[in-house]
């Protein structure tokens, strides 16, 4: 699985959540092989940006394009990305294998990497036939990351991917990320921890405040006074 002409483009993108403006005028162009690290304090919109990129939420304004060669122009970006967030999306009652086979078939990649191989590459091959309920937090996270391998998609959106992982597992995961980049994929990660990746593009969300320096000093137009101002 190799991708070409993978691209993620943000043009003047503004983010808002719950009526509160988070960031404005975000510009970014990432191409196949790029790794973007989102930094910024809590509440600066890292998770919101990932959700917008995944197609789970819409931006407040601005342009956004996620594309890859071979995908039709109207393919929604939600079909091109993987999202690995704080929650693992595993069903405790099913075995690890059943969980991953479900995602493989739900995402429509029966010819993706076999579940055994994906788990082995994350160092959790031995839990394949155990119910997810008996796994530790770190094991669950690694099984969740194996989802990115069993259903190959060009753009990985990662939200604190190494939060529950120890040093050895983090190193394994970084190898997989570099591998994904070599194949022409894009990785966009929000993290507080240095990931040890080469050639990073850093996007500091704190340097794109909405409406001026602190987001509050700029004069409000009437609409945001009544609508946004009330909820923030």
């Amino acid at each position: 699985m190799v991708w070409t002409e993978t691209v993620v483009e943000l043009g003047g993108l503004a983010l808002a959540r719950g009526g509160r403006a988070l960031a404005a005028d975000l510009d970014l162009t990432a191409q196949g092989g790029d790794a973007v690290v989102l930094v910024g304090p809590n509440g600066s919109g890292k998770t919101s940006l990932l959700r917008v990129l995944a197609g789970l939420a819409e931006p407040a304004s601005g342009d956004l394009r996620v594309a890859v060669a071979g995908a039709e122009a109207d393919t929604p970006r939600s079909a091109l990305v993987h999202l690995a967030g704080h929650q693992d999306g595993l069903k405790a009652a099913l075995t690890v294998r059943q969980n991953l086979i479900f995602w493989q078939s739900y995402y429509g990649y029966e010819d993706g990497l076999p579940v055994e191989d994906a788990l082995a590459r994350l160092g959790v091959g031995h839990v394949m036939d155990l119910p997810a309920a008996v796994l530790s937090q770190g094991q669950k996270r690694r099984v969740a990351l194996a989802r990115l391998l069993v259903a190959p998609r060009p753009v990985w959106l990662l939200d604190e991917p190494t939060a529950a992982l120890d040093v050895a597992s983090t190193e394994r995961f970084i190898i997989l990320v570099e591998d994904h980049r070599r194949k022409g994929g894009i990785v966009i990660a929000a993290t507080h921890m240095p990931l040890g990746l080469a050639d990073l593009i850093t996007l500091d969300l704190a340097s794109f405040p909405p409406d001026g320096a602190d987001g509050l000093s700029a004069p409000m137009d009437e609409e945001s006074y009544w609508l946004a101002g009330a909820t923030s």
Partner: protein
């Protein structure tokens, strides 16, 4: 196969139904608890009415319809909640199919896991209320075609429950009034099978129509509500 270039097939739809049914009917999955609730309501009602079998057989279809209504709505509260709790709800939306497709799959799976057992149990439980064979047949048929309407209606409430983070009670308050037509046509068709001059087919056809309309309205409503979740 490149990225999202693959065509939309029925495979994701089928695998989601298969997963949800498997989760529902496994030990502790909770699908059979709905049928147990159905039984509990039917057993409780005669204590409020009295053991008079003539009376019970007359109002039996209504009792069973109300029991089915409550069992379905209460069971549906968690339709999306467990996927929300473990983060799978977001991941399920990462496809090129619209949200409504996965709503339909979840509702079908829920109906198979929770409402179908209830329909199958109906003939047996009807004996408790001394229903005639004709009434049992009519009741089972109306429940079979009427419960999908309740499932799709309940899906809207379930979507509200994950979006608003409020419990089953609020959902029941909102959804119950909308379920009245289903109850009216369902009970009317069953009564027609007992009281001879009343025709069976007009209310039955209306019940089928209600199910079809609610399938469309409920799916779109639930999908729209889930999308609001992210604001």
């Amino acid at each position: 196969m490149v990225g999202g270039g693959h065509v939309v097939t029925a495979q994701p739809f089928r695998s989601l139904i298969a997963r949800d049914v498997r989760l529902a009917i496994r030990v502790g999955g909770g699908a059979l608890v709905g049928t147990l609730f159905f039984l509990a309501v039917i057993v409780t009602v005669p204590f409020g009415i009295g053991p008079d079998l003539n009376l019970l057989s007359r109002i039996g279809p209504a009792i069973m319809w109300i029991a089915a209504l409550l069992a379905t709505l209460i069971g549906l509260e968690r339709l999306f909640q467990s996927d929300k709790d473990d983060g799978a709800l977001d991941l399920l939306r990462l496809t090129d199919a619209p949200v409504s497709v996965f709503v339909i799959a979840k509702v079908i799976a829920h109906w198979l896991g929770a409402s179908l057992p209830l329909v199958i149990a109906t003939p047996l439980l009807s004996l408790l209320l001394a229903l005639e064979p004709r009434a049992i047949l009519a009741l089972t048929a109306t429940l079979a075609v009427g419960t999908p309407a309740l499932s799709f209606l309940g899906a809207v409430g379930a979507a509200l429950a994950v979006t608003l983070r409020r419990g089953a009670l609020l959902m029941a308050v909102i959804i119950l009034p909308f379920s009245i037509p289903v109850l009216i046509f369902g009970v009317a068709a069953t009564r027609a099978a007992i009281v001879e001059p009343d025709p069976f087919w007009p209310p039955f056809a209306l019940l089928v129509a209600t199910s079809l309309i609610y399938a469309v309205v409920g799916t779109l409503g639930a999908a729209a509500t889930i999308k609001i979740n992210d604001g």
